[in-house]
Every structure is written in structure tokens, then in C-alpha cells.
Amino acid sequence: MRRIYFDHGVTTPVHPLVAEEMYRCLKDNFGNPSSLHHFGNRARKAVEEAREKVAAAIGANPPEIVFTSGGTEANNMAIHGIAYTNQHRGNHIITTAVEHHSVINTVKALGKQGFTVTILPVDSYGMVRPEDVARAITDRTILISIIHANNEIGTVNPVAEIGRIAREKGVYFHTDACQSFGRLRVNVEELNVDLLTISGHKIHGPKGVGALYLRKGVRWRQTLFHGGAQERLRRAGTENVPGIVGLGKAAELAVSDLEARAAQLARVRDYAIKRILGSFKHVRLTGHPTARLPNHASFCFDFVEGESMLLSLDLKGIATSSGSACTSGSLEPSHVLLAIGLPPEVAHGSLCLTFGPENTEADVDYFVEVMGPILERLRAISPLDEETAYADRNECLSCRAADICRHH
């Protein structure tokens, strides 16, 4: 069967050159970087070379890079660390309604530990307004954390402008750049950030490794992990040497020839948006029409549910994702789609296509070809149509009995 992978926002295939370097490391460089002997020194050298590559890729200095187990850990330790290290200065944290769970849940947890939290709304494209950020800052504000580019709707936030505001007010600014790094230019000076998160497996690197950029001089301490003195006391635990080596190589590749690669991705994206909006009825683009990731096309299809579209496409060999409740495992549709003001019934019909370098316009044509009959079939099964979709809001007994629907 023809297999097409349109899910690069969720994870990417490992680049062959990355796999090769990791294999060499696993085979020939097993030492513990903390050891003082030859084997340790060789492993240490590999880690430091990777640190230089990651730093160079984002315009940082190598000592400002801390390796982590991925984007989730980097986000947790960035936010938690700033919060607890700056308690003497204030207790107010600002974030947005469209963050990744590793940010939103960390901030919410801090909200139960004596910190005050402001969750900023976004516009209907999912974009944060810099003036909202400025207005939310108080003399108790110690941290602003705002996602660079959103994983579900692709919208790119005006991070540089928000960073300027944060710096003027003397507030630390963190951005989650897991989706943008390797797809957009990500430079810590241009973006005016103090902390920045990246993840290996979103950039054709390995899973289970990421990095946190910590600007020199920022008051931050490790507050979550206790252990040895690795990563200059910033991240305890024996380094994931092959993973770090893979991240270093992936970061190097992520910025080489970036403009040309992004342009190619954007061509496929724009073709997909044009074909999908032009071929089907009752479908809308979600996220910003232009300020979006070059590889990201996301939609909501009316009257059909996301998971049933996703599984039908998978049966035809096409891999996608959906923010529908049933795929995410909770009964609420995605918090991002609700935050941009979509009614829940529309949010349930979301489908997200994220492209990679191997995808072509012909792949998009194949998608459109198989999607037509899938939509037709699912819409024929669905009791919803133009007339009933929005009128039909009667009680849901099952939901009420199980106390799981917050909409009643």
C-alpha cells in the first residue's frame, strides 16, 4: 500500500546522517562523560561538540545550552526553575491559552502552589496580541512563557515583539520553539528570549532528547531534579550521550539550507490548503492564513468527527492527526481549538496535516482523491447536516450520567 506520512508536527523520521552518527557513538563511544579517563573524555568531547552545534543553530553560546530528555522536560524545568528562583521578586506568571500541555500544566500546577497565573486569550487565528501581554504585566510578574509556533494550528506568535516588551519591563521570557526550530529561523537574540525549548524528534533527530537555552545571567536554578553535578548542576543524571550526539547533528542539519527547505515545505502546504478548501464543502482552515509554520495545514470538517477521518485515512495509507476529543483521550476537544473560538462540535472535526521534506504535491493529490469518498461516507452516516448541526443541542444523557461533559 502507498504510505504517506503527513504527521511531522507530531514526530519526524530520523535523518540518515543523524542515525549514522548515533550508531557510531553507540558502537564506539560508550564512556560516561563524568569519568576522568580516556573513555570518559571521548564521551565528554562528543557531548560538548553537540552543545556547540545546538548553540550555533540558535545563536547562543555553548554554556547556555542544557540537554534534557525532551521538550516536555525543558519546558517544565524552565518554568518551574524561574518561578522558584525568583520568588523574592514576585509570584505572577503569564502564559497563553494555546500552549503545549507541558507548559500549561506546569503553569497550572504552580498556580496551586502560591503563584498567580494569567492565561492570555488569543485571536481567532490563535495569535497572542503583544498589547495583551503588556497589559497583563504587573510589578509581581516574574515570567512570561509563550509558544513560538503552535503544534495544532501552526500559527506563529510575534515572539520578538513580546520579548522586547518583556525585556523593557525586566520580566523573564521563555518560548517553546519545539515546532518552529528547523522550520523557521530561530535565533535567541532576534527573538529577545531568555529561555527557549527545543526537542530532538521534531527536527529529524531522536526521541527522548531536547535542550533548554538559558541566557547567561538569568536567575534560574534546577528545582525539579536532584542528583549529580552533570550539566553544570543544571540537569542531574548521566548524559544521554548518543541522544545528545543525535540532537547536535539534527540541529546542525535543521539550520543548513533552511530557507530553501522551508520554501519547499511551504509550496506543498499552500498547494494542500488550496486543493482542500477548493475540493470539499463545509471545511475551514484553522490557524493563521499566512503567519503559520511552513509545513502546517490544519482544518475542521463540519458534520464529521476527527478520529473517524483519521482512521479512514490510515486505512488508505495516510497518517494525520486530529485534536478531536476521541483521539486525545479526553472528551473535551482540543483546548487550542476552543481557545480560537470554535464551537466544540466544529472542533471535533479537526484534521491536521504536517508536511516533511519527502512529501510532494502528488501526495496531496492522493489525499484529496481518497478524502472525497471518506467525507461522503462519514457524512452519510452522520445525523448532522447544515440544518441540524447548530440547532441540535439537547441534553446528552450519557455525558450527564457520567459527569464528563462540561458543556451542560
Binding site: P344, S382, L397
Partner: protein, 142 residues
């Protein structure tokens, strides 16, 4: 994630559609919840002779609706009222715990259609008992 039976019913659902002159119609769920099932039944001499459905929802919601209509056909209304979401899930070879919500819909929609039939005929309508109440703990997704 799903059993072969679920995937088979999802791909080839039985009894999709509406019955224009149905003797009973029941609908459970609403668009906000992400799953809606609408069930139509024909009843002759107390026996369900035909059942059709329309469902907006995930693969589990479509498959449970499909198998529920098969289970209901040929049963007396009393027998059909005893079909629970557990029976529906078992008939599909099981469902992932997070999907039990979806199987509730099918059984509840069938029961709603039967109550509608009883009401129309002026028959005593048994007390409404959502089959999902005791499955509370399965539903906390996050």
C-alpha cells in the same frame, strides 16, 4: 487500539440510515460531546423488526451503533431494553477503557427509541436508566 470486529463494523456499518415511518426514534449525545447517535426502530407485535442508525462520532461510536442495531433486531422490546453498553462492548470483542463513553451512546439511544415507541403507543414507559452511570471512573481522560 481497536479490535478487528470494531474496525470491521466501522468500515462496513450495518443498518445505516433512517426509517421514515419509524415506530420509535431516540437520540443521545449532542454535538458538543463529540458523539451523537440517532436510532430508528420498527416494532411489530412487541418485536423489533427493523433498526437503523445515524451516528456522528469516532470509530467506536460508529461500530457500537452498528452492532447495537444487529443485536436489537428480532428481540422483543423487553429483551432489547436489557441490552447494556457492556453487552455492546463485549459483542465487539471489547473497547479501550476511554471509549466506553461511546458504547453508552448506542445502548442509550436504543433505549430512548424504545421509550419513544412506548410513549407513542400509550404503553407504560419504564424509568429512564442511563447505562453509563456506573462507569464513571473510566471517563477521566486527562
Amino acid at each position: 487500539m481497536y479490535t478487528d470486529i470494531v474496525m470491521e463494523h466501522f468500515q462496513n456499518p450495518r443498518n445505516v440510515g433512517e426509517i421514515p415511518d419509524a415506530d420509535g426514534v431516540g437520540q443521545i449525545g449532542n454535538p458538543a460531546c463529540g458523539d451523537i447517535t440517532k436510532v430508528f426502530i420498527k416494532v411489530e407485535d412487541g418485536v423489533i423488526t427493523d433498526a437503523k442508525f445515524k451516528t456522528f462520532g469516532c470509530a467506536a461510536a460508529i461500530a457500537t451503533s452498528s452492532i447495537m442495531t444487529e443485536m436489537a433486531k428480532g428481540k422483543t422490546v423487553e429483551e432489547a431494553l436489557r441490552i447494556t453498553h457492556r453487552h455492546v462492548a463485549e459483542a465487539l470483542g471489547g473497547l479501550p477503557p476511554k471509549k466506553m463513553h461511546c458504547s453508552n451512546l448506542a445502548a442509550d439511544a436504543l433505549h430512548a427509541a424504545i421509550r419513544d415507541y412506548q410513549r407513542r403507543r400509550g404503553l407504560p414507559v419504564p424509568e429512564e436508566r442511563p447505562s453509563s452511570g456506573h462507569h464513571h471512573e473510566d471517563h477521566h481522560g486527562e
